[in-house]
Amino acid sequence: MLRFLVRRLLGAVITLLIISAVTFMLFYAVPRDPARIACGKLCTPETLELIRHNMGIADPMPVQFWHWLSGIFLGREYPGFGNCDAPCLGYSFVNREPVLATILDRFPTTFSLFLGSSVVFLVFGVGAGMLAARKQGKATDKVASSASLVASSMQIYFVGTLALYLFVYQWQILDQPGYTPFSENPGQWFAGLLLPWLILALIFTANYTRMTRSQMVEQLNEDYVRTARAKGLSGPNVFFRFAWRGAMGPIVTIFGIDMGVLLGGGMITEKTFSIQGIGMLAVKSATNNDLPMLLGVMVVTASFVVLANIVVDACYALIDPRIRLA
């Protein structure tokens, strides 16, 4: 297990290195003046010159990338702007702030959104899928299957806006969505995120219901499940310890992918509910031409996806002894 983790972490570092190099090249190789772009809309000639100097435009591209990379471990200085301590992912000349500071500021919001909605869609999605598989072909199964089909064809910006209108403005049952740090006021943290959680989870719930159902139905027909029954084990025992064990693998895999995506920020959800998470940060940096920020967001997002994959593989080995980690 340890060897596996070390090897996978090394692989992850290489993956991230390649991702950041490619992203870096793409951004800085555009046939435009990167300093002019980084300077933003309100740009004076003096600032532009200062940014040029700070970005090291005169240096060749690999040297620029090397500076960016070494900044992660050593930190960088941006004369005229400020210091960027290690780990430094660059400096946003638009925000006049190190990139990482802004990302860290936004991260709890995105993480809260991910956490709450995952709990909701895992509990309800997997639960409904199990129920449907258990009551295969009966009314419960049909209701769950058709409801999940309807829900999975919904769009967040549509259901979200509708829910916002009805629950918040029309009936005033729920609070206006917004992010309050958990440490500040847990009650408000919960109330402000409840609607985004439910709406974001709605579509995921539908997918997890369908996937859990089909996996469970398949596993329940497996020979080893029949053997478990032939041994005299009780129904729930066979259902959870045998069939569910087999069904878990693919669900964990998909959850790993979803985890990476959600931690990278759900732009549409954040936009719909006006929540300032990493998704909105990415959108704003793109529209503001804040390339250092965009690069930082992409690298951080990619790290989440890569990390989530390692966690999934480790979980998979715990679930299925046939997969050996060495």
Binding site: E222, K231, G232, S234, R245, D320
Partner: protein, 345 residues
């Protein structure tokens, strides 16, 4: 050892198992009856889809209750199993009656160790401690001839070879000393040496515990080795019954003749091709009328009045011996000696 016991241990009476599918009703088993006493082995032979496995899954109550209709009576030691509650069946399965499945690789859980899978059956039925269950698992593995059982008990099925997996499967089925053991082609996937070892193992265990065994196979060689009585199934019905000697030496039903003549043997000349039964097993969705074998039977025209396609031949047993065929006893004797004669040439 209980040969004086007049009451059959397992008694199946007019068993019908019908599945409802989208295309209609599949009559997988259609009026099957047989008895089995303790300490004896009944071999059930037949082609794929003849209802052998379905019959035995139904005895254990492992059919899907939503889509399966079971009629008739299954009594085990005087207790009616058809319609018994799931709780009652759970207590019997793996305990008083147990089953060895054909494919041990897919039939063992890949997620649990061998020891755990054997031990949990024992724990479930005896309520013993985890430690005692583990001890018992090791003891069982030793008994079925797994080397280093104390070590291998913690292995997963994928770490076992095919023969060892089948032995583990047998250990699992025998862990509670069952009184009825159903073995569904337990040796089909194995090579002959392992096959012989496993058969010997089953025979030893039967001698020791007086277990009644139902041995399902399509291999007549295996039947000749292990069975006391033989039941030949075709299209969900029993076409012939008798002792091993009677059925193999003096078969009465044209289907059994076909099975025997399609089997290679050492005294069979190598340059004479085997004689397979023409056609394929009947559709159980829409089975042939009358005798289900008549479309493939070479002797159907010999019966007067087209009885074979219009009337179901009844199985009339005299001392547990008989066949379901419209041919008269004289006809059978004549045709079979012809067949046997032509095979010898």
């Amino acid at each position: 050892m209980t040969s004086t016991d007049q009451q059959p241990f397992l008694s199946i009476k007019d068993l019908k198992v019908h599945f409802s599918t989208e295309d209609g009703t599949v009559k997988a088993v259609d009026g099957l009856s047989f008895d089995l006493v303790r300490g004896k082995t009944l071999g059930i032979v037949g082609e794929s889809g003849s209802g052998k496995s379905v019959t035995n899954l139904t005895i254990l109550g492992l059919h899907n209750p939503d889509s399966t209709k079971v009629e008739g009576s299954i009594t085990l030691d005087g207790e009616e199993l058809n319609g018994a509650s799931e709780k009652t069946l759970e207590k019997l399965r793996g305990n008083k009656m147990s089953m060895i499945f054909q494919d041990a690789l897919t039939s063992l859980s890949p997620y649990h160790t061998i020891g755990k899978q054997i031990g949990e059956t024992y724990r479930k039925h005896t309520g013993c401690s985890k430690k005692a269950a583990r001890e018992r698992a090791i003891e069982m593995l030793k008994r079925v001839g797994i080397p280093q059982p104390e070590v291998r008990v913690d292995d997963y099925p994928h770490q076992f070879s095919g023969g060892m997996r089948q032995r583990a499967m047998i250990a699992m089925a025998l862990v509670c000393d069952p009184e009825l053991l159903i073995a569904d082609e337990p040796t089909t996937a194995l090579d002959v040496t392992v096959q012989a070892q496993i058969m010997d193992l089953l025979k030893d265990l039967q001698k020791e515990f007086g277990t009644a065994i139902i041995f399902i196979t399509h291999d007549l060689g295996v039947i000749a080795d292990i069975a006391d009585d033989v039941l030949v199934m075709y299209g969900g019905r029993c076409v012939e019954r008798g002792t091993k000697k009677e059925v193999l030496r003096d078969p009465q039903h044209p289907y059994t003749w076909g099975l025997l003549s399609s089997m290679p043997s050492l005294d069979h000349p190598v340059d004479v091709p085997l004689n397979p039964i023409p056609g394929s097993p009947p559709s159980l969705l829409n089975p042939p009328s009358g005798c289900r074998f008549h479309p493939r039977c070479a002797f159907a025209e010999k019966v007067e009045g087209g009885l074979c396609s219009s009337e179901r031949p009844l199985l009339e047993l005299v001392d547990g011996r008989g066949s379901a065929c419209h041919l008269t006893a004289e006809q059978r004797g004549e045709y079979f000696s012809d067949l046997a004669g032509s095979a010898a040439n």
